[in-house]
C-alpha cells in the first residue's frame, strides 16, 4: 500500500469514526447521556483537529512551492482562511466542550469564520488563474466564464429558495445578518469551486486530481452543511442538526486530506 493510499485510508477511518455518533442519532439511536457526551467531544475535537490539519497542510504546501510560483500565494491565502476556520471552531470548542455551555450566536467565533470566506475565495481564484496559465489543456477562459455565470445563477436561485424561510423568522439584526451571510458566502465560494472542479476532473486518475477532489469536496460539503443548518434552524427541524454535524466533519476531513495531499505531492 502506497503512502498516499495509507493516508487516504487513515482519513476515511477517522472521518467515519467521528460521524458515527451523529449517524446513530439520526437513525434513532441517541444513546442517552453517554451518546450526548460522545457527540459533544467527538464532534468538537474532530472538527477542530481536521481544520488544524487542513490549515497546516495548506501552510506547508505554500512553503514548499517556490517563491515565484503562483500556487504559493494561492495556498498561503487558503492557509490563512483555513486557520481562521480553525480559530472559529476553537472558540466553539471552548464554549461547548470546556465551559460546557451552548455557544452563543453570534459569538467571537463569527469574527474568525466570516473573514475566512473572502480569503478562501481569493485563494481559489488565484489557483484557477495559475492553472489557466499553465499551458495545459484545462479549458478556455470563455468556458470558465460560462461556468462561473451558470453557477452564479444556480447559486442565486438556490439562495433565494433556501433563505426565504430564514429571513421570514424574526431575529435580532446581527443574527439575521449572519444567518443570511453564511449561506450566501458559501454559495459565492461555490463559483470558483465548480470552475476548479471542471479543471480538476481533467486530471482524474492522478495525484493532482486527488488534491483538488479532497479540497473541493470539502468546500461543497461545507456549503451544504451551512445551508442545511440555517434551513433546519429557521424551519424548526432542529432534530436534523446532526446531519449538519456529519456534513461539517466530512467537509473538514476532506479539506485536510486535500491540503495534506498537495504537501505530500510536493515532498514525496
Amino acid at each position: 500500500m502506497s503512502r498516499t493510499a495509507r493516508t487516504d485510508a487513515l482519513f476515511l477511518v477517522a472521518a467515519l469514526v467521528a460521524v458515527t455518533p451523529f449517524v446513530l442519532q439520526l437513525a434513532g439511536w441517541s444513546g442517552g447521556g453517554l451518546g450526548e457526551e460522545l457527540r459533544l467531544y467527538v464532534g468538537n475535537v474532530s472538527k477542530l483537529l481536521f481544520l488544524v490539519l487542513a490549515a497546516f497542510g495548506a501552510a506547508r504546501s505554500a512553503a514548499s512551492f517556490e517563491p515565484d510560483n503562483p500556487m504559493r500565494s494561492s495556498w498561503r491565502i487558503m492557509a490563512v482562511g483555513l486557520a481562521g476556520f480553525a480559530a472559529g471552531e476553537a472558540v466553539l470548542v471552548l464554549y461547548q466542550a470546556v465551559l460546557r455551555v451552548t455557544s452563543p450566536f453570534p459569538s467571537a467565533a463569527d469574527l474568525f469564520f466570516v473573514p475566512s470566506y473572502p480569503l478562501l475565495l481569493a485563494g481559489l481564484i488565484r489557483a484557477i488563474r495559475a492553472y489557466g496559465e499553465s499551458g495545459y489543456p484545462v479549458g478556455s477562459p470563455r468556458e470558465r466564464a460560462l461556468t462561473a455565470g451558470a453557477t452564479a445563477v444556480a447559486a442565486a436561485l438556490a439562495a433565494y429558495a433556501m433563505l426565504k424561510p430564514v429571513v421570514a423568522v424574526p431575529a435580532p439584526a446581527l443574527e439575521m445578518l449572519l444567518n443570511v451571510a453564511y449561506p450566501v458566502l458559501d454559495l459565492a465560494l461555490l463559483v470558483p469551486v465548480v470552475i476548479l472542479l471542471r479543471i480538476a476532473i481533467r486530471f482524474r486518475g492522478g495525484e493532482v486530481w486527488k488534491v483538488w477532489a479532497g479540497l473541493l469536496a470539502g468546500f461543497l460539503l461545507s456549503c451544504a452543511a451551512d445551508v442545511l443548518f440555517a434551513y433546519f434552524n429557521a424551519s424548526g427541524h432542529e432534530s436534523l442538526d446532526p446531519l449538519s454535524d456529519v456534513l461539517f466533519i466530512l467537509s473538514y476531513a476532506a479539506l485536510a486530506r486535500g491540503a495534506l495531499g498537495q504537501y505530500q505531492l510536493l515532498r514525496s
Partner: protein, 86 residues
C-alpha cells in the same frame, strides 16, 4: 533517437501517476501541436524533445512544484534514452 510515438508514450507513462492518463495524453497532443511536432511522425529530434519537455515542465511546476517537476523531467529523459537505446 526514438520514434515520436514511443517518446510520447514514455512521457505519458511517467506523467500519468501525477496528472492522470487523460490529461497526460491531451497535454502531449496540445504541446506537440503548439511546437509543430507531428505526433505520429518519424523520429523525434533532440531539439524537439527538449522543447517538448520544457513545455511540460513549465506547467508541471504549477501542479507539483519546480523540484518535483525537475525530477519527473529527469525521469522522462532517462526513460526516453533507455527506450531509444533499446
Amino acid at each position: 533517437m526514438p520514434k515520436t510515438k514511443d517518446a510520447l508514450d514514455t512521457i505519458v507513462a511517467v506523467l500519468s501517476p501525477y496528472l492522470g492518463e487523460t490529461m497526460a495524453r491531451s497535454a502531449a497532443r496540445a504541446h506537440c501541436e503548439k511546437l509543430g511536432i507531428v505526433a505520429d511522425g518519424a523520429d523525434i529530434t533532440r531539439e524537439q524533445l527538449d522543447a517538448l519537455l520544457r513545455k511540460f515542465a513549465q506547467g508541471l511546476n504549477i501542479f507539483i512544484g519546480r523540484e518535483k517537476s525537475a525530477a519527473v523531467v529527469g525521469e522522462i529523459k532517462a526513460a526516453v534514452a533507455a527506450r531509444g537505446a533499446s
